[in-house]
Symmetry: C2
Subunit: 445 residues, 2 copies
């Protein structure tokens, strides 16, 4: 049996980081179980960095990055990776845009050469832009406009943030997507795609020295872009009002309740606060052992499913989210009362040592499982580094979770499960158009 | 007895407009009842044109415009106007920033010289900027933060607009005001304050030729600024969800209900639509003859006051607003049900010819009374011209109102009194902090 890691002691570092002369940062996470590598480039730019009247621009550019450069023809990038036996993908979030490949170790240099090439040599024709714009318009229609739950989530974000650009959807509003131009994309590309705004993450069967040599040769020759400036996003004013939205959609089979609360993130919170929120929301919302599931699904038989969680990865803020799907003939008012009773109970009486320890074990176990999947491992470092967290903070997370106390959890509940920070969303099947299908205030008993 | 003006016939024009070679527009409205003039400069820039992470910038600059130029010392501008027996003021809205003086006719040339001077020669010291920033911080604290109703209104706007900058308060969020700098103000000034972004409005005891000669001499020598670009603000996505907010404030004496709906404005609506909205909301909400007042105050005895209106002056959109203050021991749920019953009735059965004609008479009378007040008369032209409306549209408004039919009113009610366009706000006295003091959904009967 292994001795437990003493609390508060940071374990020996696994990842190695360095910086190129042009400002590009790099993290290497050795993983020698198989002769493969995960190669990622994280740009410190996401949907929330675009101009607010051009929502969707960061995601649009992500699509266009698979168009041509002088060396690589339109559509050839994925073909080359796949012919080498690799896999590739890309994604855009509010804070980052990420390109990654998983490939045999001997091709890492070639992947770097290709990513370095499209970091600065992207060419775009009006036709390529028009084609891709239509692809995204279709993507939006199928993934968002045709999904009542996605529509509600989009409106929940729009209602949660008063000033901050996190309120805008990453994919963009349909009317904004339709207006995105080649000039918009190139201006954004030239301002934000540069080695001094990028983080190279390589996990896999390589040594830090090997990665450094390859990176210097491929990425090192790109000059820094002095136009890259630090983020200057709109900040939220104090949240003073509880907000509610109701979406009616005839395609809804089961009425659904969502709730979100604005919180700090790991990048913005005082030490220990985000960790307490992680533990708190594991106890309240994680799977079938969470309090919400036990109360709404098992005990009260109101909901088909119920869960909650805390996302603490944001650059400017974090979020608590909850969701419950009503059983037929159960109304959302009853669901919401049951949710509030669960939250009231935690605020008033806190959580037990048993729950605390179970939640900590569960979180540490998730960290361990994640460490076994190379791509998720690489993503962990990229995500945290791109919002300014250090290797020590990333690797010290299990130890920091271990330090959370029941008092910390109760304090976090009382500070952050505050309706003034919240949006409550009701998704209902019936359509009543102009009529007020809103909940009425019930007079106090 | 006078014959009524035939419907649809535009009366003879009262105002005369012309344009200077540098792009500055001018409107002159002769009014020879007294030897005074109202002199206004309308800049086509307002709070909604500033960068979204610098809310309050347009209003901040309005304050700073009373600081020094080379010719006029800090604070001397108001003193000069007052020593000449004049009055002066300035205001900032979402769409415009306006400076105006009312003064004896012989001083008009001097007023123009002073306005022309500060259009381009403003000097700002860091000390002046710091002083004025503190003035505005105090202004915000006293007018907004200390007023529960103003706080609710501010949050109603934040909740109504998803993407458009009308969601931000004209005065700015406190944390943004605290960051506004001399550089922010000067950059905004240099981009937007220019003759080709301004409208001169002069009403009073002058002829158009006199005004033209004075304007050419004073404003005509300022070169046009090619940096002035047309507005490119974020546009609203379709509004799909009804929104609700609850603000609790212990200083609230009587619970208050507010509701707003997003609508077109006179500048954006199809012909006749904004006029129908004006008539509709006069019937529903105007004073003690409006349907809301009759139902909530007189019949049901739920409210101490109740009213509603339509503001159609915006560049990008209009708004319907309603407010009702509960009598003691009356809850907002009952008030809201009564409001919805009034709106349902109009949507289903429309309005009577009697109500229609009374509302038209009332609107035309308001236009006539406004024409008798020189400052409001001048403001009418400035406001409409600054959002792109023509003299014919301004002066043809009473005739356009006359053409509204009961069918138009019913159609407007059905299209625009749609909960998906709305925000409902509850202002409540009690404080329950973290607890959910939200209305519960009442199961359908």
């Amino acid at each position: 049996m292994l001795a437990p890691t003493p609390q508060g002691v940071t374990p020996e570092r696994r990842a190695v980081q360095f910086k190129l002369a042009n400002g590009m940062e790099a993290v290497v996470i050795p993983d020698h179980r198989a002769p493969v590598v995960t190669h990622m480039v994280w740009y410190r730019v996401g949907a929330a960095d675009g101009p607010s009247h051009r929502s969707g621009l960061a995601h649009f550019l992500e699509h266009l990055m698979f168009k041509s450069t002088e060396k690589i023809a339109d559509g050839a990038f994925p073909k080359i990776v796949m012919e080498l036996g690799g896999q590739l993908n890309a994604f855009t979030s509010q804070d980052v845009t990420v390109y990654h490949e998983r490939i045999a170790r001997e091709h890492l240099g070639e992947m770097m050469a290709m990513e370095a090439d499209r970091m600065v040599n992207l060419r775009l024709t009006d036709e390529e832009v028009a084609t891709e714009r239509n692809v995204i318009i279709e993507e939006r229609a199928s993934r968002y406009d045709n999904s009542p739950n996605a529509r509600l989530s989009e409106q929940m974000s729009a209602a949660l943030y008063i000033a901050h650009p996190y309120r805008l959807p990453v994919i963009g509003w349909a009317h904004d997507i339709a207006q995105l131009s080649r000039e918009d994309a190139l201006a954004f590309y030239k301002r934000y795609y540069a080695p001094n705004n990028a983080i190279l993450v390589v996990a896999g069967d390589v040594t830090p020295d090997e990665v450094r040599d390859l990176a210097v040769a491929r990425y090192g020759k790109i000059p820094a872009n002095p136009a890259v400036a630090s983020r200057d996003r709109a900040k939220e004013p104090p949240h003073e009002v509880a907000r509610r939205i109701t979406l009616q959609d005839k395609r809804v089979a089961n009425a659904t309740l969502q709730r979100t609360y604005l919180t700090p993130s790991y990048a913005t919170a005082e030490p220990g606060t985000a960790e307490a929120l992680s533990v708190l929301m594991t106890i309240i919302g994680d799977g079938s052992t969470g309090r919400l599931y036990r109360r709404l699904v098992l005990e009260d038989k109101l909901a088909a499913s119920a869960g909650a969680g805390y996302y603490g990865g944001g650059f400017d803020s974090g979020i608590i989210h909850m969701q419950a799907v009503a059983l037929p003939h159960r109304d959302l008012g009853s669901l919401e009362a049951a949710v509030d009773a669960v939250l009231d109970e935690v605020r008033e009486n806190g959580v037990s040592e048993l729950e605390l320890n179970r939640a900590k074990r569960s979180l540490r176990a998730a960290y361990t499982f994640e460490s076994d999947e190379q791509e998720r491992l690489a993503e962990r470092y990229g995500r945290a580094q791109s919002v300014g967290r250090t290797i020590d903070e990333i690797e010290g997370w299990p130890a920091a979770i271990s330090q959370v106390t029941t008092d910390d959890v109760k304090a976090a509940a009382n500070t952050y499960l505050d309706m003034r920070r919240s949006v409550t969303g009701h998704l209902l099947p019936e359509i009543t158009n102009g009529r007020s299908a809103q909940p009425r205030q019930v007079p106090a008993p």
